[in-house]
């Protein structure tokens, strides 16, 4: 008999304006020791489906529709009282969330948070019993260091926090572990370690794992069965191998085809230099007795028009600080040559004028647009600064043509950011930069918040713009697949140092530095 049996699961969200079916008629079952992956883009209902099993959705607005059956060990969860539900949560079912920073309480030490689950479900354990069990759990998830139980979440790294989350989920020996995008917020190397840990625990404890993810790399690594969801409905199911290698549904095929595989644009060997940095370094002042933090060690590079420099590194490696320093937005030392000018030596007014030549697109399309301005106001802002003599009509025309360049319909320009999808917002951010006709465009993880299919389209757009306009890109990313399909040159950064640089193909095929090797080996696809 299977451990978990879900039949005709339906979840709807009721908002004041509409009712949305987030999950529609979904059935699956899962045996002990097996893995089931729920795969889909954002908004496909995969998390909603998984979280409805321990009834963790906030109700209202979410509610199960009639006829939904969720059986765990033959008991119907959907009809349980809140008291019985608490027995299920944390005891029979453990849950790991995507963002370990927000799912741990920042004001409590890690050990205490783990023992809380024990206190609720195993009161007989006693104080010393709980301490022993917490220690045992931490060893199980690979956190042997004695300082861990007494550390606050902010004193732990992302990977350590996720391990603490796993320890919490496992505290009461659950039979089912629900992992909702457990590695999405983690760096590549950490991701691999956490997935290895999950696999080992599954084997040792005979756990059933329900894995929710959008990442085919993760799915391939974990194996088991897979269900592909689209708009709350199942479009394909089967073993992971079958779904990945011989998909039958058109949607699954399009998702798989959206892996960035195209090569970068051809480069012109004689194109002129766009940007050169000389000994750029960034350090943040330490407070009190703390030493200053050097985010970027002195580094040199140059970039020609029409070329892309990929900057790769894990979080905290100084990639984004480098971007902000090149834009002259944070204090730094060193020189940035843009054409003949040294940006650091310009007066405020001159620098303001030169800003049109170097622009940026940020990672998160939800925070990079002012929520209260329309798309047109956002895009037109740069023109109002740099070409104040333009008439309203000229500005409006320029906005229209820039929107067409980023493949959006100019009719939409009167709408507000929240009315656009993530991919569309990122295009608006791109248009805001492009309208000034910059020479250098810094792209700070522009695709990491986007779904696969959207990401592929966006990369295609970047390539064609580079070809047409001869733009120089500085492309910052932790996603090696994306970098390989866009960049010509590569800088690999670790803790503020450039550990390796050179031609992209060369670095990928013959990495020299051990850090680059480690990064490439953790690359799942």
């Amino acid at each position: 008999m299977s451990l978990l049996a879900v039949q005709n699961l339906g979840v709807k969200y009721t908002t004041p304006t509409q009712v949305v079916m987030a999950v529609d008629d979904l059935s699956f079952s899962l045996k002990a020791g097996k893995t089931l992956c729920l795969i889909g883009e954002s908004g496909s209902g995969k998390s909603t489906a998984a979280l409805s099993i321990p009834q963790l959705l906030t109700s209202p607005p979410a509610s199960l529709i009639g006829g939904s059956k969720i059986q765990l060990n033959g008991e119907d969860i959907a009809s349980m009282s809140p008291r019985q539900l608490r027995q299920v949560r944390g005891k029979s079912v453990g849950v790991i969330f995507q963002e370990p920073m927000t799912s741990l309480n920042p004001l409590q030490r890690a050990g205490k948070q783990i023992s809380e689950a024990l206190r609720v479900h195993q009161p007989a354990l006693g104080h010393q019993g709980r301490i022993n069990r917490v220690h045992e759990l931490l060893v199980q998830v690979g956190l042997e260091e004695p300082r861990i139980p007494n550390s606050f979440p902010h004193q732990l790294s992302g990977g350590q926090r996720q391990r603490v989350m796993i320890a919490m989920a496992l505290a009461n020996n659950p039979q089912l572990l629900i992992a909702d995008e457990p590695t999405t917020a983690l760096d590549l190397t950490t991701q691999k370690q956490v997935l290895d840990l999950l696999k080992r625990l599954q084997r040792d404890l005979n756990l059933a794992v329900l894995l929710v993810t959008h990442d085919f790399g993760v799915v391939r690594y974990m194996g088991g069965d897979a269900i592909v969801l689209k708009e709350g409905r199942q479009v394909e199911r089967g073993t992971v191998e079958k779904v990945l290698t011989s998909p039958e549904d058109a949607y699954t095929k399009s998702l798989l085809a959206a892996e960035p595989g195209d090569p970068p644009t051809k480069i012109n060997r004689r194109s002129e230099l766009a940007l050169r940095s000389e000994n750029i370094s960034v350090s943040y002042l330490g407070s009190g007795k703390e030493a200053d933090l050097v985010a970027v060690q002195p580094m040199n590079f140059q970039l020609a028009l029409g070329e892309t420099l990929g900057v790769v590194g894990e979080s905290g490696s100084g990639k984004s600080s480098l971007a902000l320093a090149l834009l002259q937005l944070i204090p730094h030392s060193g020189k940035t040559y843009l054409n003949k000018d040294i940006l650091e030596q310009l007066t405020d007014e001159d620098l303001r004028a030169r800003r049109a030549d170097i622009q940026i697109v940020f990672q998160d399309p939800f925070s990079s647009l002012s929520p209260r301005l329309t798309a047109e106001q956002i895009i037109a802002e740069g023109l109002e600064v740099h070409r104040p003599k333009l008439t309203v009509e000229e500005i409006s025309n320029a906005v229209d043509s820039t929107l067409s360049q980023v493949q959006m319909n100019p009719i939409d320009k009167h709408r507000y950011p929240h009315e656009f999808s993530g991919g569309q917002r990122q295009r608006i951010a791109l248009a805001r930069a492009l309208i000034l006709e910059p020479k250098v465009l810094i792209l700070d993880e522009p695709t990491s918040a986007l779904d696969r299919a959207v990401r592929a389209e966006f990369l295609q757009l970047l390539r064609s713009l580079q070809r047409k306009k001869g733009l120089a890109y500085i492309f910052i990313s932790h996603d090696l697949a994306v970098v390989r399909s866009l960049a010509h040159h590569l800088l690999v950064m670790e803790n503020g140092h450039v550990v390796e640089s050179g031609d992209v193909r060369q670095v990928f095929s013959k990495p020299q530095h051990h850090y680059t090797k480690k990064l490439l080996s953790a690359f799942l696809t």
Partner: protein, 350 residues
């Protein structure tokens, strides 16, 4: 801000309306405001309009002397017997406000003061024979005016200061914070008393002094929002575009930083009205000739056994502050992003 027809504003307005208490309180405040600001039309010792001998007179707009009506002396009392006899003789007529007493009109016909309510003085009179209803209507008007001026001035100064402090951060922020701490330590009550003794009390002085001590209340809420927002990507993007600091603050940060200060506005308003009343009560507020709620309060505490005087001050003042606090609560809820995106039932609970 609520008037803009953006979808978010519409949603906020709907959340506000769904909060019945706040919605009806808003109407209550508006009615009180209308009543008190039209006090000259409701409670006055001059007729609104006089028609006599084929001529029209508007005593509220023009100052007439006795000679304009054919009296020998320039002195003119519309309520005197001689004036009403003249109207009768020349077959003229006059439209009077519902209450024929201004806040400072002394009813000399009374046998003893304070006099209890009767058909002429609905809430009786105070110890000099002045009508209580007339006084609270006029006094409320002054309070509204004061509150509005106070809130406007303090919010403009406080929000500007908080914006600059939060946006530039670092040393600007640190220095300013220390200055504000010292500032907050000033003994405001004693300074007010000293100034009133030196310069004599006036509306302008009261407003100036209270604004001088009051604007710091808006600095904190604005500062945190700006401190947070200056690292937002869209603010960085605007800086990278070369937009000037002032414009970034106004256009990109302020609209999103408004929520804190805006939701505290009604409470600040109610607070300022109460402070003015308390100062009046102590005798360091508005000039003695002004209609003042505080002075009425002082009388009410002296003649606590005259229920009409107690009700005449406690009623309007507590109603006003209570209604404003309810409205403020509604506004705070309507501006709360969680309330906007959750559904009706969870809104009305709190």
């Amino acid at each position: 801000m609520l008037l803009k027809k953006s979808p978010i504003a519409q949603r906020r307005w709907q959340v506000f309306r769904d909060n019945r208490r706040a919605y009806f309180s808003l109407y209550g405040v508006l009615v009180l405001m209308l009543l008190s600001l039209s006090a000259p039309l409701i409670a006055n010792d001059k007729p609104l309009f006089i028609r006599i001998g084929g001529e029209s007179f508007f005593p509220l707009i023009n100052d007439y002397s006795g000679r304009d009506f054919g009296f020998l002396l320039p002195g003119l009392d519309y309520k005197s017997n001689s004036f009403s006899r003249k109207l009768e003789l020349e077959e003229g007529w006059a439209i009077w406000p519902p209450i024929r007493y201004r806040y400072d009109t002394i009813d000399k016909s009374l046998e003893r003061v304070p006099s209890p309510p009767d058909s002429v003085h609905l809430l009786g009179t105070d110890d000099t024979g002045r009508d209580v209803v007339a006084r609270f209507l006029w006094g409320l008007g002054v309070s509204f005016l004061f509150g509005a001026c106070f809130v406007t001035l303090t919010s403009v100064i406080g929000i500007t200061a908080g914006a600059v402090q939060g946006y530039y951060g670092g040393w600007v922020d640190l220095t300013f914070q220390r200055v504000l701490e010292v500032y907050g330590g000033l003994p405001s009550l004693y300074i007010i008393i000293a100034l009133v003794i030196i310069y004599g009390s006036s509306f302008g002085l009261m407003l100036g002094v209270l604004v001088f001590f009051g604007w710091t209340g808006f600095v904190g809420v604005t500062r945190v929002e700006f401190l947070r927002a200056r690292n937002f990507d869209y603010v960085r993007a605007a800086r990278a575009l070369g937009v000037r600091d002032g414009k970034i603050m106004r256009r990109h940060i302020l609209p999103n930083a408004f929520i804190g200060p805006i939701s505290s506005l009604p409470f600040v308003f109610a607070g300022s009205v109460t402070v003015l009343t308390s100062l009046d009560y102590l005798g360091f507020g508005l000039p003695k000739t002004w209609p003042s709620l505080g002075e009425m309060g002082a009388q009410a505490s002296r003649f606590y056994y005259n229920w009409w005087q107690v009700i005449g001050i406690v009623g309007p003042l507590s109603t006003l502050t209570l209604l404003i606090v309810f409205v403020g609560d509604g506004i705070r809820q309507a501006l709360d992003p969680r309330a906007i995106f959750s559904i009706k039932t969870s809104v009305s609970k709190t």
